[in-house]
């Protein structure tokens, strides 16, 4: 009995003394935007020695483009691990890598490959994710993009966009135009339309199966919707005057378009089958470049009712109009992020055309690019990157990606093509 009481007493003392020694609290506010250092090792081939393109290069450039990762130079690293057991963690730590991607490619029959990969946490010294894909040899880039997506989702919590497609207009031979689609990184370009007259404003449908665009082939701007798989197209709008600036509603059932009749550019709504046109905004000024909010309740657009072009928004339920951009005298080409929290647009700043990023909650504006002749910025479907056109004062135009933390700008390898107005296709589930 005595012993029992002693234990209780000692326990009480211990408890009270530890309570008196209360924990110090440290509040840590904010942080620092940085790039996660990641090493992507070459995937070793088994079963054949064919040159099918370096999958680790695809993954490296995907992760780098996002601006959230810094892909380490792995040349000259002596130990190139191909399985989890081969990893020398202290070596990777000394190279300051936080994560490591390793893998292997097994060549199968009928020109197929099996790609196995692992994502390894260097600090915790464990594999956090792994997977396997089987596909045709020529799909090695697509497989690489899938791996990048999975790694990106695991480490950032956001969906990856490395598997998505883009569309853009190409002007060639000085007077001809093509509407092209390609992988988001500029590979695998195919043409949807070839024309002697200008093509502008290509826009992907939310399901990624169709593209709306404006063509001048009838010697005035008219709107077509073309099915990508079949090439079939339908004339959506050919009213008197201009027909332009198509913008799909988030549910894909309607489009906002700009018509003029015999007056100024005004925004209308039309069903995707071409029926039921109705006017949305009444204004004596220019109203154009409609862009839907992701909840389908508001339409952002450009208007010069304030003198120069500025961005406004129209509430479909209340018909209320409010101004969105206040910095600078020339703001246009609005594009909203998928969650409706961020807006990018083109702004003129001291004579230079730059891409601006605005937080719609705080209304803070950040210049993402420097110009001098940037144009046509559009959001990636996960809101983490922006696609835009830029040119030097020379005539070469380029399409490039810029990460929204501003840390990475990279051109697409489109050669010397004269390019305009890219559009970013949706995420495929």
């Amino acid at each position: 009995m005595n012993k029992f009481l002693q234990i209780i007493f000692a326990g009480f003392i211990f408890f009270s003394s530890s309570v008196l020694h209360a924990l110090e609290v440290i509040e840590i506010l904010g942080g620092k935007a940085s790039q996660i250092p990641i090493a992507v090792m070459p995937f070793k081939s088994f079963g054949a020695q064919k040159a099918i393109g370096k999958i680790n290069s695809v993954i490296k450039s995907d992760l780098s483009r996002s601006g959230l990762f810094y892909a380490l130079d792995t040349r000259g690293v002596i130990a190139a691990p191909n399985s989890d057991k081969e990893v020398n963690f202290s070596q990777w730590k000394s190279l300051e890598a936080q994560f490591l991607i390793i893998g292997r490619i097994d060549f199968l029959k009928k020109e197929k490959v099996k790609v196995s990969w692992s994502l390894i946490d260097v600090y915790k010294q464990q594999t956090v994710l792994s997977g396997e894909y089987v596909g045709k040899e020529k799909q090695i880039r697509a497989i690489g993009h899938k791996v990048s997506d999975k790694v990106y989702e695991r480490l950032t919590g956001s969906k990856g966009v490395f598997h998505t497609k883009i569309a853009f207009v190409e002007k060639y031979n000085n007077q001809k135009y093509k509407l092209n689609i390609a992988d988001y990184d500029g590979y695998n370009i195919t043409s949807l339309l070839d024309s002697k007259m200008p093509i502008i404003s290509p826009k992907w449908s939310p399901d990624g199966k169709k593209i709306a665009y404006v063509s001048f082939e009838k010697e005035k701007p008219v709107i077509y919707i073309q099915e990508i798989a079949t090439g079939k197209r339908k004339l959506l709008a050919n009213f008197k005057g201009n027909n332009s600036a198509p913008a799909w509603s988030p549910d894909g059932k309607r489009l906002a378009i700009v018509l003029t009749y015999n007056t100024n550019s005004q925004i209308y709504l039309i069903n995707a089958d071409g029926s039921d046109v109705k006017r949305l905004i009444r204004s004596r000024s220019i109203t154009t470049e409609p862009s839907w909010s992701p909840d389908g309740k508001e339409i952002y657009y450009t208007s010069n009712q304030g003198g120069g072009p500025q961005i406004y928004k129209f509430n479909l339920e209340s018909s209320e109009v409010s101004r969105v951009t206040f910095e600078g005298k020339y703001n246009l080409y609005p594009s909203l992020s998928y969650d409706g929290k961020l807006l990018i647009y083109l702004t003129q700043d001291q004579g230079n055309f730059k891409v601006a990023l605005q937080n719609l909650q705080s209304n803070q504006v950040l210049k993402l690019t420097k110009g001098p002749l940037d144009e046509a910025p559009v959001f990636a479907p996960n809101g983490h990157m922006v696609l835009f056109v830029y040119k030097d004062y020379g005539k070469t135009t380029k399409i490039g990606t810029v990460s929204i933390n501003g840390l990475k700008i990279d051109p697409l390898p489109l050669g010397s093509r004269q390019v305009q107005e890219p559009a970013w296709g949706p995420i495929k589930n």
């Binding site: 201009n242 332009s244 015999n262 100024n264 107005e421």
Partner: protein, 177 residues
């Protein structure tokens, strides 16, 4: 006697026909000329030289309607028709009023700076400005179509060549004479 009048009439029409096709060389599809039609039909009592047609010929001879004067130029980011063009516009208005079958298309253009769609709208503003000037001289909208090509034909080197002003215009084109 009648034969020679008929012959001269026919010759006169041929002459008129030649000059009118010249005015329309940019348009491939031409509806037939009112004057030619009236000549070809036997039911028509009148001769080639009736008053309205004579007036049209006269009007067409107006130097203000000359082809090289059908471009109205604008200042940067502006769509106000400058005073110096008003006489030309008035002449076109007169013609349109006298020739109710005539149809006009006004094509607006801009220089290359800015986005494609915004410039499409700006070009439209310019063609509308010309239309409104015509309206002020009594021309009805039914005879006018306004379109815009925005910056699609702009010269990308206009800044270096100091010629951006040449890209900011509205062109008058007759779709039906």
């Amino acid at each position: 006697m009648k034969k020679s009048i008929l012959l001269t009439a026919l010759l006169g029409i041929l002459v008129a026909g030649c000059s009118s096709t010249e005015l329309q060389e940019s348009q491939p599809l031409n509806p037939p000329q009112p004057e030619l039609q009236s000549m070809l039909s036997d039911d028509n009592e009148g001769t080639a030289f009736t008053s309205p047609e004579l007036n049209l010929l006269e009007l067409r001879g107006n130097p203000l309607l000359a082809k090289d004067k059908r471009s109205i130029y604008f200042d940067f980011n502006k769509y106000v028709v400058k005073q110096e063009y008003m006489k030309i516009i008035q002449a076109h208005a007169k013609y349109l009023n006298e020739a109710p079958a005539a149809n006009m298309k006004i094509q607006g253009y801009t220089d290359y700076r800015g986005s494609h769609e915004y410039n499409l709208s700006l070009g439209q503003k310019r063609s509308v400005a010309v239309k409104e000037a015509l309206n002020s001289f009594g021309v009805d909208d039914s005879q006018i179509e306004t379109v815009s090509y925005g910056k699609e034909y702009a010269n990308l080197d206009c800044v270096e060549q100091n010629s951006c002003g040449e890209d900011r215009l509205a062109d008058i084109v007759y779709t039906v004479e």
